[in-house]
Symmetry: C2
Subunit: 481 residues, 2 copies
Amino acid sequence: MNKNSNLHMTTEEFRKQGHAVIDWIADYYDHIEDFPVLSQVQPGDIRSNLPDSAPQKGRSYEEILADMDSFMPGITHWQSPNFHAYFPCATSGPAILGDLISTGLGIQGMIWATSPACTEVETHVLDWLVDMMDLPKKFKSTSTGGGVLQDTASSSSLVALIAAREKASNGNINEKGYNGKLTVYTSTQAHSSIEKAVKIAGMGKNSLRLVNVDESFAMSTNHLRALIEADIANGFTPAFVCATAGTTSSTAFDPIGEIGKICAEFNIWLHVDAAMAGPAALCPELRFIHKGIEFADSYTFNPHKWMLTNFDCSVFYVADRKTLIDAMSILPEYLKNKGTESGAVFDYRDWGIPLGRRFRALKLWHVINYYGVVGLQKYIRSHVANAQELRSWIEADERFELMVSAPLILICFRHKNGDGFNEKLLHTLNESGRLYLTHTKLNDQFVIRISVGQATTTLDHLKKTWKFISKIVDELEEANH
Amino acid sequence: MNKNSNLHMTTEEFRKQGHAVIDWIADYYDHIEDFPVLSQVQPGDIRSNLPDSAPQKGRSYEEILADMDSFMPGITHWQSPNFHAYFPCATSGPAILGDLISTGLGIQGMIWATSPACTEVETHVLDWLVDMMDLPKKFKSTSTGGGVLQDTASSSSLVALIAAREKASNGNINEKGYNGKLTVYTSTQAHSSIEKAVKIAGMGKNSLRLVNVDESFAMSTNHLRALIEADIANGFTPAFVCATAGTTSSTAFDPIGEIGKICAEFNIWLHVDAAMAGPAALCPELRFIHKGIEFADSYTFNPHKWMLTNFDCSVFYVADRKTLIDAMSILPEYLKNKGTESGAVFDYRDWGIPLGRRFRALKLWHVINYYGVVGLQKYIRSHVANAQELRSWIEADERFELMVSAPLILICFRHKNGDGFNEKLLHTLNESGRLYLTHTKLNDQFVIRISVGQATTTLDHLKKTWKFISKIVDELEEANH
């Protein structure tokens, strides 16, 4: 991009078209509730409207922006206040603008030297977050650890596993390959990314022990201990425990402190996955979610879920950065430079899988500075309060049962008419386009999940949602008679 | 973001601040040549200006945008026309706007249902690129394969290795862990991400065979064959060969066809890494870079390097998608849905490491439609022509020697005065802020790399650059006397 070009977009055209895109996005948010929340297209519908081959001659930007409107029927509206599927993926104006600046600068922060600000702002803002969330000081760069941004918690947990694998094997696996002797523990309710990480890391599903859960779907420490002791008796080396602070199915909280004591006793790496729930710790009264976190060797949460920062943005902390770097670092000649040789800088390429890195910290900088700690607390508190209100309405309706206590913003419930009825209810609701919910299974029962957490969801939205659900339930009950 | 809020940025404020950010970016490109290309700050300089803790109360957006100016001394200007370090990471106006729309929509395409357009536009545009670059038809979604976007070639190559690992072990490693029996081959000149992938995959560095290169730094197929035969004789199963089309050090091209025949003979997965050079294949006369590509099981190149698409955007093709999906797929209850069950859709979460996914295809859609095939060809051709012109100037100067033939846009050269002189030359040039070059070692000699490929680099820039280099060389030679 420059002032004069007969090939590239000029800066003058960029100003014009950029303003149009900003307005297009603002218009989208002004009318986001007019779209069906869950896309209603059939497989292939979007592709069938696209030209078979790329254009030989370039098209005007106006035409390309108009293409976006034609894609809209194939969009599921994650930012709609009526999106209650999965977990939130809430964005905000300042996050979008922070990411736009990162995109615009077009820099790549693989090592300190390739843009010192990219590394230093990232380190700094992640140190801020340790204090903001009252996490252990050992996670700060000024201590033995440090934070780094990853794309997703899947990657954060994989990196934690690699570090633990190498620590438990004294770097032997990086040299000789997996030895068939390490074991990994997580609960039956843990996220699928843990099993995926175990497979990617070449340790095989057979090295993964799924620990039973109690009636609240939290990890049983008795079972964890029994599994560990049995493995040691059988010649295995327990290497990694992943505790979950807020499971995906039902926001269950594993007892981190009790698990941590067992990990300390057996010298096992403790990783804590708080992908969605983590930001609750911005509020002192909600810090129960991290009870025992001082035992953790590593920790991850996603500001792109419940902290108003657009996807992708996963925070990963490690207590002992040397172990992580030793496990991940490779230094070819073409990346050698004075900064790295000085030892005074972090080269974040050694903290994750990709070599290249975006300036992701800019969006976090934007969000934290725009809202301030108080603004973020207000946001978290309003969601928890609204979700608890919704929970009370469901609880008061005898046709439904709550499946878990719903400590934060996820409510798992079912109609008492059985799995078939609930499946039908879910599909009818989603096909209406009025809202989007997903399901899980708890104790082998089909359960509907309502996740409250998109940026602009208000109590009024929840009132309308609950009224609509009740109406559909009435109709389905009627049809059943 | 919505119309009225006392917490969030309103859409009205977003319009205003968004326009300001667009103008800030346009101003940046209008003045990009005024900045020192390589940041001149010392470790800690940027951090030392940042507040020790996050603000309690939110700050105005005007203040936050002003923070960006204070970060600029810590920026290395990858988009400067005088950035000749590493490889290009060229962006463009349409790419920035395409990515802005993706950020603005805030959707997450982990599975087809969570935004069908995200999956279908990605599949479609990657099918386009197969035709545009004359790649094997087996890489198309309409055949047995398909394309997917990853963040970087590091991830693409890791995913290829996992698929190959599972194919060679009949899925056994995903079950039982690495068996110590598979071997991986790549040249001594291959990218460091291959060694990193082997380690992450739990196969250990000992399973990696570094194949010798010939005088052009291309893989020796005689040595490859010898290594494979020795491994088989020793009870190993050769599983994966990574050939490089354009090495990082010197743009050497491994003989893909010859390697492919060996892979076919021994039933080994052939992955081709064309991270930087790939887009040359947009021009029929440059398709020598892919000679033999019909043998490849998988292939990666990065539009974020030399195809005007902002970082991150790595294209990954696989010839047999079933093998890839079998190796990577995990399906928990909370992700089950009608689309997936129909079998009629791709769920790209099974094609990579992260579960969540941005709508990255939008920026590719923007770039291909804005430039058209002809515009992209013009861009590639002008860079190659300009780089060859620069090469001829270096060749004509008896003080220098060219280290390789420089087939595309990377020129590797050194002053005949030896390593010390060249190191000093490089540092003097970079400290001037006028340009940014990096180095490598070839045949154990320190070599300066000039990579031509940022979007707006013209022949005039290269003339000034070469004049400046000559002047500094004169001064250093003078000081040596």
